[in-house]
Symmetry: C2
């Protein structure tokens, strides 16, 4: 069978694949640093060369206002599904350099891990999909499905140009499935499909009282203090049970399903190890839920920043005229960020004490993502992961957000398969970022099998092919 020839090719080229990844990792494609603009482009060109070398149908750079997009496609599988693979070739700045045990752009293998900036986020994970395609093109007689690769160079700086491109090119990017490998496995040896991400509703509160700072002796006790008022407003957001005390907030929250609670509960997760990792005196969260449930599937509210009055050393007896806070809610299905904003505004209006005015600024919002796990795509991905990793994946959710998932859903109408090959301790964004070479090869194999498995599934809707 074709897949066996592909597997054999992948096995035979492990050394090459490692050298190619190292070459890519040597390019300091730090999108945030204009000094490295030429390097960043060089990484795009490296990928373009790789696509061309494998003999894919068409490949090119798409210029943007910033760093280029790399786009490649092969649409030679009529009647088969179309898969869009997203990834990014830019990396976080490596600074601070001091904690690195080897230079961030000199890939070094230690204990089976390749240490370099971008190794897991996202060069190493993204590159598995190119190597899988190479296997099919070189040894499998061509790609078993239609594929579109969209690799951006600005993920670490906000991805605004990608967003504009996707919105303007819905037809070109049309697909049946989107795939992203930019997350983590649950733990070493426990590959995962991430089927849920939280949404976000981010606000800033600005409280004002008097028109200027006042002397707290001359005026204290006669006018409302915006810092006291802000504290009251923030304190009102959660109860002692750590539930969010905003009217109607939980109404649209989709309860955890029985299978999810069972799935989370069977994961090898130590609350005590997790607590130690944070250094917090104890774990605290919404009553009635485990830590994993709170983390992945329950809405949360955190004050992200607070400011007002005198912050210097020692005392100053000022009655400040204004104070502010940034705070955010992590949302779960089916909470609507707009509705949460309205509920939050109503709550603030209700609890604001007299004597101050409050301005509510909406910073940004995004709904949560939840992908049905009994879909053809998830079934195919499960089989592919089992082939690549030797064990079927667990199903997990994430507390964070990946904006591109919503972008693809909104513009292309597709759910994304989040197939992460990394580990939680890969130190992405930190020093000594690493990626397991064993997981790199397993990921390549899973990516190759994914294309075969998707080819077996019904085309759920008209893709681009």
């Amino acid at each position: 069978m074709a897949i066996d020839r592909v597997d054999a090719y992948l096995d035979a080229h492990r050394g090459d694949f490692e050298e190619q990844l190292k070459a890519l990792l040597r390019i300091p494609s730090i999108s945030a640093q204009p000094d490295h603009d030429a390097d960043t482009r060089r990484a795009a060109e490296f990928l373009l060369d790789d696509f061309r070398a494998m003999g894919i149908g068409s490949a090119g750079l798409i210029e943007t206002k910033g760093h280029p997009l790399v786009y490649a496609e092969s649409l030679n599988a009529p009647g088969r599904p179309t898969v869009l693979v997203y990834g990014h070739y830019d990396v976080q700045p490596p600074e601070p350099l001091e904690p690195w045990t080897s230079p961030p752009f000199e890939p070094t293998v230690v204990g089976g891990n390749i240490i370099a900036r971008g190794s897991t986020d996202d060069k190493g994970q993204m590159f598995t999909h190119l190597k899988a395609a190479e296997g099919w093109l070189k040894a499998g007689g061509g790609l078993p499905v239609n594929v579109k690769y969209l690799i951006e160079g600005e993920e670490e700086v906000g991805g605004a140009n990608l967003e504009a491109y996707v919105k303007a090119n819905r037809e070109k990017l049309a697909c049946d499935y989107a795939v992203i490998s930019d997350t983590s496995q649950f733990a070493p040896g426990i590959p995962a499909i991430t089927y849920g991400l939280k949404g976000l509703a981010y606000f800033e509160l600005i409280v004002k009282g008097a028109k200027t700072d006042l002397h707290s002796g001359m005026f204290g006790g006669t006018v409302a203090n915006p810092l006291n008022a802000l504290s009251s407003i923030l304190a009102s957001l959660k109860g002692a049970d750590n539930r969010i005390a905003i009217d109607g907030f939980y109404d649209p929250v989709r309860p955890l399903e029985a299978w999810e609670r069972a799935e989370f509960a069977r994961l090898p997760f130590s609350e005590e190890e997790f607590r130690e990792q944070t250094g917090a005196p104890s774990l605290e969260g919404e009553v009635g839920y485990t830590t994993l449930e709170r983390r992945w599937a329950r809405p949360t509210c955190d004050v992200n920043g607070i400011y007002g009055g005198y912050q210097g050393p020692g005392p100053k007896t000022v009655l400040p005229w204004t104070a502010g806070a940034k705070l955010s809610f992590r949302l779960v299905p089916d909470q609507d960020p707009k509705r949460v904003a309205a509920q939050f505004r109503a709550h603030v209006a209700k609890v604001t004490p007299p004597g101050v005015t409050v301005e509510v600024i909406e910073h940004h919002g995004a709904p949560a993502v939840l992908v049905g796990v009994d879909s053809p795509g998830v079934r195919a991905a499960s089989r592919a992961i089992e082939a690549g990793f030797g064990t079927p994946p667990v199903f997990m959710r994430e507390g964070g957000s990946i904006p591109v998932v919503g972008l693809l859903k909104d513009n292309l109408g597709v759910d994304t398969l989040l197939l992460g090959w990394g580990q939680n301790d890969d130190n992405l964004h930190g020093p000594n970022e690493k990626f397991s070479l064993a997981d790199y090869h397993r990921g390549i194999k899973a990516s190759a099998h994914l294309l075969a498995e998707l080819a077996k599934e019904e085309v759920s809707k008209s893709g681009g092919a």
Copy 2:
């Protein structure tokens, strides 16, 4: 009578007194600015020359680690009381200069007010006592009581050297009455004796949760957030009735006496004008009390500063590991700052939510001051003010603290007569600081009469004479 000859002398020398004050105001004795150290000393020497010119018994500069103290005394009234007059010759920096309508150290008379840095705080007010002494020495046949003048040059920078001097020289400074003119009248035409000052208990709270900042998506809802926790703690300090919700806090609070409430109520005070002055949407304070009562005679609690997490522009989804706040209580008789600190600590321990630790730092504390108004000193001061201003004083309290009052009480055992000749809108510490020349002359006359009136009172205890 001697006092008539003194009054005549004062009337005859009004022009001289104005010129002398202008000369003093021309000296930029900015204690906080080392560039002006020579000027600051020059102001001290100016006063020393003035004391010598009036022919007082002895006068000299007392060197300190910083700016010198000016000390003068006349102890030629055996069997009569001893009065210690405190004042300061240093001034606040004049910056920002732009809003000044005339240069801060070029005294300019506009509409009967002398505009200059230090005109009201405290050169103009302090100098009235020197001119009064001059009147007695030049025209009254000598001072009717024993007097000690202690004029410092570091009031605007903390007065630590004065404190050390007073503690080390209790015998030398022993007196029956202390007098300070460094406050305000209630309003134009309404001179006042300030008989109460609030005390202070100032704290900082530092709340800690995890050992580092965490991603609010990955960790939100699983560990306590120090900013949320801090908000809860601060919100718990006051109820909706604006009463301080700390167990036992009000136990030692001395209630307003009926005469005080009546005295405050009869003062021409417009709550609406006061509100407009602050710019606050409404006046808010402890239920059951008027604004003047809240301001002068009820304890208060204000958060003075708050900090934690992300304070930059835009959103950042951080779960901060630590947050802090500075807050203070203004105390009234008979609250003890140490006891308040213990009550505050107990309260914080009680209301701190699980999952965080809280450190309470005590910045500083001072008890409130309340002088009996039916004392010989207050009676004498009332008669003196009536003589100088043509109307008897009202009795008022202040929301602020004047540390030297406690210093003199603790070390010399005397109450201070706070006889302010300034006005609330004199802009002390601000641009275009002013002092009414009419009030300057009234203050000189009242100061002169004060010595005569105190001479009539019983010596309450053994003074320095």
